[in-house]
Amino acid sequence: MKFVIRKLSGLIITLLIVSILAFLAFEVIPGDPARSILGTEATESKVQALREEMGLNRPLPQRYGRWVKDFVGGDMGISYSYQTPVREMIGDKIPITLTLTAIAFLFILLFSTPISILCVRYENKFIDKLFTILNQITMSVPPFFIGIIFTVLFGLVFRLFTPGGYVSYEESVSGFFKYLILPGIAIALPKAAMTIKLFRNSLLAEMRQDYVRTAQSRGNNPWRVLVRHVLRNGISPVVTFLGMAIADMIANSIVIEQVFGIPGLGRTLISSISKRDYPVVEAIIVLIAAVILVVNVLVDLLYQKLDRRIEV
């Protein structure tokens, strides 16, 4: 119980700080939402009238206070540029981005676990060396570049999918997942490479432990020792890494969405920032921060499960 309260209050404080920083960022950067809406037809009086209408002329603390109050009450405000409730606007985009991140996460596990085990089992053999080299290469390629290569290769050369031809989950669930596979792999590859490197080293260190030698000398199957004992003990640093990687992967999803033309949060976030559409940006930033924080709490819990000595 104490744990839950502690984590929850930490979460709320962090979210408050994030939202204040996001609010302040918009005060500092140039550009005015009213002027952005009016474009080149803006006259001073038109801008002032619109600012008044949008409530932008009120002092900052008052605006922030009001925003927090509404947000807590479930009202995310109205988008300046679309005149529709922010909740409606981003409601159906959140699942897209989160699904993409989840798919990427699955691919990381799918790639890294077997390969790491294989590399450890055949340490310094051909397969280990091959993967070490491949790893080094993959790690240094950013996801958006992999995305561009995928689009050209699988989209234009092999014609396996239509670049930009996103299928919504309402239209076809299988089509939706099929379309997200390539973007998911593009995000996963560099992270999977890092995970393999970390996982392999952690497992190798564990393999040098006395208990492994003992287990093996007792005639246990080396595969069995690896999977049943070493894996469990060597996984802790990987869990920490993956917990941190989630934040990075959401960020990468936002970039990859542009490359594949996926209408997730990313495009909305980017265009809203450039249009100075604060309500939308605030909501997205706070929601992403909340997701990351919750994942971190889950990682802490998992950590404790894996190693009972750890206090969280």
Partner: protein, 514 residues
């Protein structure tokens, strides 16, 4: 048949160009020609996906300001009159109009049987409501600035509306393209209703806008059943999406992008109908000196810019008027300042800058043609000792710093016209005008402008507008460059693309071919 005519014209133009080539090295406005090898029969129906670079800023036709929005809304809404492809204003919701001799009273008769997309007939009340809404000053300025001269909108009978102006204005018809919307309809932002050839179906922010054919359209009905405008924000993705088939058409490609689309597409070439220039802040040193501005004009060669930036495509212009507004455009103006570094240096010396000066060019970083142009200018100006620093900024910052607050030295941008009138291009340079971001101020200009807008004789008025254009050249208000080429890629499955002398995209002329 049409194609044969086009070919004949092409042959004649080429012949003429060769014949004239000897006497003039200038870039003349070449008629848009396309290597259109399409064959096949037009079929009715079908759908098309059009890539657009940014989402619409508003679905309310009276509140939308972005050119990229208006070109889409052109298909949904209509005014009492609307522009046609040759730059004339033709009757739309009105079937006829009459302008009083003193150009103070405009009388419109409604066309019979024009229906809104919701099925209701258009009434004189709707017309009055739409115009009053744009003329309303309760929020400061009216939505359409020119409507500040409207005295009253009166319903004469159930077919006739008259608009009385406070002062004579012969060009007011150009402003009557304002969309007619249903009276007291307040869901324009989410469910727009107009009278155009296409009806609004749905919109998904940052994703798409979908329209369908209006079967009850009063005029020539559209060929396609469905049009999807798909937002492709990333310029690099545009070509990939075209090639992959997720969009069938895209406008305003660069010549590099167009060259990548070798098969399956035809490239239509027109112009963007805007005035690209190195706009100079006439109020800051050293640009407040006419001699300095002239020196810059002599140092910059628009032909070279076009050759480098767009493979020579585009039309060179010399003043704030683009060729699409034929009546007011004179291609003599383009060659007023021919590149001459010696003359430029001499002028700088006279102005007191024998060693040149530092010049900052602010440019919106997302507009590649403008950024590229600024780079060529920077190289050219080196020759007269002017040190250019290019400052790329976001469009939103550009609107604020450059356009609204005039905190800049010079900028490369394209300025277009909101409607088919010379006033739309020239009014901004009058002293104190809110759109006068270059701080140009000339008593003579202001005086002639006043005369021009109140002139009731059309020939006289055209003459006065041309005088204004000449003042802008003579004072070297800006360094004028070109009307940018507009390259449109259309999938070979479609034909019928038509260019307008305005920033609009008429989807009703496009049809599928078998």
């Amino acid at each position: 048949m049409r194609r044969r005519v086009a070919q004949t014209i092409l042959v004649l133009t080429v012949a003429a160009a060769i014949a004239l080539g000897g006497c003039s090295g200038d870039k003349k406005a070449a008629p848009s020609t396309t290597e259109n090898k399409l064959s096949g029969n037009p079929v009715e129906g079908g759908s098309i996906k059009v890539g657009i670079s940014q989402d619409l800023d508003s679905l309310d036709p009276h509140k939308a300001v972005a050119a990229g929005t208006k070109e889409v809304l052109f298909n949904i809404y209509e005014g009492l009159v609307k522009p046609d492809k040759s730059g004339n204003l033709v009757e739309a919701v009105a079937s006829s109009y009459e302008i009083s001799d003193d150009a103070r009273v405009y009388t419109f008769t409604l066309r019979d049987g024009v229906k809104f997309h919701n099925g209701n007939g258009v009434t004189v009340e709707d017309v009055k409501y739409s115009i009053d809404r744009c003329a309303d000053t309760s929020n400061g300025d009216p939505l359409v600035s020119a409507y500040s001269i409207i005295d009253s909108v009166n319903i004469l009978d159930d077919k006739t509306v008259e608009i009385r102006l406070k002062e004579p204005n012969t060009e007011f018809l150009a402003y009557m393209t304002t969309a007619i919307i249903p009276k007291d309809y307040d869901a324009l932002e989410t469910a727009p209703v107009g009278t155009g050839p296409f009806k609004f179906v749905s919109r998904s922010p940052q994703e798409n806008v979908i329209l369908e054919k209006n079967e009850d359209y009063w005029g020539e009905k559209a060929h396609l059943d469905k049009v999807e405008f798909k937002i492709v924000a990333d310029a690099d993705m545009l070509v990939t999406n075209l090639k992959g088939g997720s969009i069938d058409m895209a406008m305003r490609l660069t010549s590099g992008q167009a060259a990548e689309l070798k098969s399956g597409f035809h490239i239509e070439e027109g112009t963007m109908n805007l005035v690209q220039a190195l706009y100079l802040n006439n109020a800051v040193k050293p640009l407040d000196d006419e001699k300095v501005r002239k020196a810059l004009s002599y140092a910059i060669n628009p032909n070279e810019i076009m050759d480098i930036v767009s493979d020579g495509k585009g039309v060179r212009i010399g003043t704030s008027m683009y060729p699409g507004l034929k009546k007011y455009y004179d291609d003599e103006y383009a060659s007023y300042y021919e590149q001459d570094y010696d003359k430029a240096k001499k002028l700088l010396k006279e102005a007191g800058y024998p060693d040149g000066f530092d010049l900052e060019i602010t440019v919106s970083s997302a507009d590649q043609p403008h950024v590229d142009t600024a780079q060529v200018i920077a190289e050219e100006l080196k020759n007269i000792g002017v040190n250019v620093k290019i400052k790329p900024i976001e469009w939103e910052s550009w609107l604020e710093d450059v356009y609204a607050n005039h905190h800049y030295q010079s900028t490369v941008v394209g300025v277009d016209a909101a409607n088919l009138s010379a006033r739309a291009m020239l009014e901004r340079f009058t002293t104190g005008n809110s759109g006068n971001f270059i701080n140009f101020s000339d008593a003579e200009y202001d005086k002639i402008f006043k005369e021009a807008i109140s002139a009731t004789d059309e020939a006289k008025q055209t003459e006065l507008y041309k005088q204004l254009e000449e003042i802008l050249i003579d004072k070297a208000a800006n360094v004028y460059i070109q009307d940018l080429a507009n390259l449109v890629a259309v999938s070979d499955k479609y034909d019928g693309y038509v260019f307008y002398p305005l920033y609009v995209q008429d989807m009703s002329t496009i049809y599928m071919i078998e």
